[in-house]
Amino acid sequence: MLDALTLVTGVAALLLAAWCGWAASRDQPTKDWHFIGMAVVSLLAVVQLVIGIVLLARGEKPEQGTTIFVAYLLGAFACVPAAGFMSLAERTRWGSVTVSAGGIVLAVLEVRLYDIWGG
């Protein structure tokens, strides 16, 4: 369950990165559609956070420790919204590059989460 969601979130993060990277390559700032994309990816991260906590509450143990698992869940949750706010403050192509970088960072976090959970 969690593994499937980790995979989906990781892929969605990469798609977001590619999409915003494309916008940046055409010298465009992030637009409404990009923010909807960010919202979708953020929603996946929220669902992942909730499911992760529920699994912990039911007594399951991540392979590499509960603290690290929760820390990475929180990091994954904060990642894209933080980049999104920064792109609001920077209305040029560089805002798009920042969100793109945010997507890549989230994808890396998802790979780490997969390992930490022990899938």
Binding site: T67, I68, A71, G75, A82, A83, F85, M86, S87, L88, A89, E90, T92, W94, G95, V97, T98, A101, G102, V105, V108
Partner: protein, 140 residues
């Protein structure tokens, strides 16, 4: 985020590519600080040198992030010094971990020139130094 108040005299260091730098520095702050806090709290004796170095790296990253966001000539110079120190740190610690592996039972942020972080620790100070140099205020 848009309501950042700035005195007109202060050089803005976060416009354009600067925003991307702030993002990466922010990520490294979270990465280095949370990692070292966790490691120091749970098993400092296992690799005291490595964990302390990660903590120092986290503090340096935090200061550079703050300087970039603050802007202005003084902050720019301070950030420049810290980026140079950061670069020196990555190079020294990176070489050290390769030469004498026994000194580091566990990895630091700067081990093997930051390979565990896709070499961002070594690329970041280089691009930051370039960015800060380009933004110096020309004084007559």
């Amino acid at each position: 985020m848009t309501s950042v108040q700035e005195k007109p005299a202060r050089t803005r260091l976060i416009s354009g590519p600067g925003m991307l730098l702030v993002w990466f520095y922010g990520v490294m702050v979270v990465g280095a600080v949370s990692r070292s806090v966790f490691q120091i709290a749970t098993g400092f004796d296992r690799a005291p040198l490595a964990y302390s170095l990660s903590a120092v790296a986290g503090v340096v990253y935090g200061f550079i992030t703050y300087s970039l966001v603050r802007g202005g000539e003084t902050a720019r110079k301070a950030a420049q010094v810290c980026c140079a120190a950061e670069l020196a740190g990555v190079l020294i610690v990176g070489t050290w971990t390769l030469v004498d592996k026994s000194a580091f039972p566990d990895a630091t942020v700067w081990s093997d020139y930051g390979m565990g972080y896709v070499f961002i620790p070594v690329l970041l100070p280089l691009s930051a130094l370039y960015w800060l140099r380009r933004n110096r205020t020309v004084t007559q």
